[in-house]
């Protein structure tokens, strides 16, 4: 009884750490800390650091939440079987 509960929680924590690392990387990393470095690259009229700060990070945020929804729904179904 104790063991499957633990697996569920551990897997959840694993998902969290991966997704939150990406969350940190695109916003605080690309958008802020490395923004000057990223700004050397350009897509269309956007400097890349600026693009991450004002557009890219927001798109990634949306994707991250839906990814978590997908992963957790799958995990829930597996655990409750």
């Amino acid at each position: 009884m104790e063991k499957p509960d633990n697996t569920y929680w551990r897997t959840n924590l694993k998902y969290l750490s991966i997704l939150l690392s990406i969350w940190f990387l695109v916003s605080f990393g690309f958008g802020i800390l490395f923004a000057n470095f990223m700004n050397q690259f350009q897509i269309g009229g956007f400097k890349l650091g600026f693009w991450f700060a004002q557009q890219g990070s927001i798109y990634v945020f949306v994707v991250l939440i839906f990814l978590y929804v997908f992963l957790m729904n799958r995990l829930d179904d597996k655990t409750l079987e």
Binding site: D5, L20, F28, A35, G44, F50, A53, Q54, S57
Partner: protein
């Protein structure tokens, strides 16, 4: 006159709709009043969450701020969206599983202590009041600009309407009115942006348009950087704040977003734990539509504005210029008497002062769009301000009737009495908020942005530690919250209001602005909580079992 007529039509139709919905969906039990009986349809709930979140500030001021500060404005874009990732991953599903009405409910039960609950109620009230006063002011401003009544009359009308549907409908009424309010506000925000993007770049999607070339074949952003350099402003795409400050402000806004009681309470209204995660995702998607459009509007408006006015003869400026001059939001003084508009960074030479709120509101006029678009903007701005005010109002009334009255002072209260108490509390809250809207004390303007710092320094760590640590106990969390919110209040009063000897940006600790200080106060909260919890007894078995329970699927 035709423009005024359109405004009245748009505002009239949307308001009739809101009031009709409020009457149809009035609440009959405390459960309906606080969490809409947990039975709101997922789509309505998601739209309501988005409308609740996007306030007058997001709708009117944000694009303007970005327009004037360029890259520095990114803190709001990332901060007010990135918080939803934290919400969806770290808070919402567990709080829904826990299954109570309010944030202080969770703090009180998880930390088995009335003191913890009382501290949480206190924090919730401070955060919500600073926020709602700003909203009422926003309602007043919009009414006065678009309906040509004075600001105070505007605040009274706004008070009346919010009161009507919040008191009658509670969470249920608010949710069902916020859903159409979202549709109104997003439509009003997008229409001018799409028109302008088409005019300037030939592409209808503003998010793409802002990275394209203008009619002259030069990238808009490149041109803007060039214009800024020429006029002595800092570069548009790189900004002027220090990296450390940008980092800390963004973090404080994110953590504050995830800790704001009126946002969290939304996830108590969904049916299942799964729905809580999914709702957060859809809510962020709907919010992201506005938040990714805002920086595009900022770029279009900035380029347009500089090209229209800079070094042009005052006599030949278009009509919207003089329209907005009469409101006092735009002022021109011909310092060197050459009849031209010098718009530069140097305040000695600069002749044009522009209020940031103009950018969004005057956008349709600057781009020469039809009058019905301007009517739509008025309805959208009002929807944004009213929906946020109503959501906050509910948090305040439930804090008083549920957390304070039922759970602390008078536990024997019946459901019916509690419902009456909740309604009475919301009447008082509206009156108080309206009072602050009409007589805005200086601290309101200073503290609205800082409400996030306060939430980050108090609620966010308390809730997260309550879920992710079984060892965290009441002694630790109470001292953490008290230290966090006191530090934040102290720093805010010292550097924003000039108490405790005041100080300028030279005196900021480690060069951190008050807006970014919430992150440091949060770290202090966590540190104190951990240190104290390990020197005091572990929480009782029952509480540890409760934590196990909320972690299960």
């Amino acid at each position: 006159m035709e423009q005024q007529l359109w405004i009245w039509i748009m505002v009239g139709v949307t308001f009739t709709l809101y009031i009709g919905i409020a009457i149809w969906s009035r609440a009959s039990s405390t459960k309906e009043f606080y969490v809409a009986g947990e039975g709101v349809s997922p789509l309505a709930n998601v739209l309501a969450t988005a409308a609740d979140w996007m306030s007058a500030a997001s709708f009117i001021s944000m694009a303007g701020i970005i327009s004037f500060t360029g890259y520095d404005g990114s803190v709001y874009l990332m901060g007010w969206t990135g918080g939803y990732v934290l919400l969806a991953l770290l808070l919402a599903p567990y709080l829904r599983k826990f299954g109570q009405f309010t944030v202080p409910d969770f703090i009180g039960d998880r930390y088995y202590s009335k003191t913890a609950r009382a501290v949480a109620v206190f924090c919730a009230l401070i955060v919500s009041f600073t926020y709602i006063a700003g909203q009422m002011r926003g309602v007043g401003l919009v009414f006065s600009r678009y309906l040509s009544v004075d600001i105070n009359t505007g605040v009274f009308i706004g008070m009346g309407i919010v009161l009507f549907y919040a008191v009658l409908g509670g969470m249920k009424g608010i949710t069902y009115t916020q859903a159409p309010q979202y549709c109104v506000l997003i439509f009003a925000f997008l229409v001018p942006a799409i028109f302008i993007s088409m005019i300037m770049t030939g592409v209808a999607i503003p998010q793409i348009g802002m990275g394209l070339e203008g009619a002259d074949g030069i990238y808009l952003l490149e041109k803007l950087d060039g214009l800024h350099k020429e006029l002595g402003f800092h570069q548009y795409t790189s900004g002027s704040k220090s990296t450390l400050d940008v980092f800390l402000i963004t973090a404080a806004l994110m953590m504050g977003t995830a800790g704001l009681p009126h946002v969290i309470v939304r996830f108590f209204t969904v049916k299942k734990v799964r729905d809580a995660r999914k709702s957060a995702g859809w809510a962020l998607l709907f919010i992201a539509i506005l938040y990714t459009t805002a920086p595009a509007i900022a770029v279009f408006a900035r380029t347009n504005l500089i090209q229209t006015v800079s070094n042009k003869s005052y006599e030949t400026l278009p009509e919207w210029f003089s329209n907005w001059e009469t409101t006092g939001l735009l002022t021109y003084t011909d310092k060197n008497l050459d009849g031209l508009v010098q718009y530069v960074a140097d305040p000695e030479i600069n002749e044009l002062v522009i209020d940031k709120d103009i950018i969004v509101m005057a956008n349709p006029e600057i781009a020469d769009l039809p009058n019905w678009v301007i009517g739509l903007m008025a309805a959208g701005a009002l929807a944004a301000a009213l929906s946020t005010a109503a959501g906050l109002l509910l948090v305040i009334s439930s804090s008083v009737s549920h957390d304070l009255l039922k759970k602390i002072i008078y536990p024997k209260i019946t459901d019916k009495e509690e419902l009456i108490a909740a309604r009475v509390a919301s009447v008082f809250a509206v009156i108080l908020a309206g009072y602050f809207g009409i007589n805005p004390p200086d601290f309101v303007a200073a503290t609205v942005a800082l409400a996030f710092g306060l939430a980050a320094a108090s609620f966010f760590p308390a809730i997260v530690m309550g879920i992710f640590s079984k060892r965290m106990n009441k002694e630790g969390v109470i001292s953490g919250m008290v230290v966090g919110i006191s530090l934040m209040l102290f720093y805010m009063m010292k550097f924003k209001l000039g108490f405790f000897g005041g100080g300028t940006s030279e005196d900021w600790w480690f060069g951190v602005s008050p807006e970014g200080f919430g992150t440091l106060a949060m770290c202090a909260n966590i540190l104190v909580a951990i240190l104290i919890s390990y020197r005091t007894p572990a929480p009782p078995k029952a509480v540890q079992l409760m934590v196990d329970e909320i972690r299960k699927p």
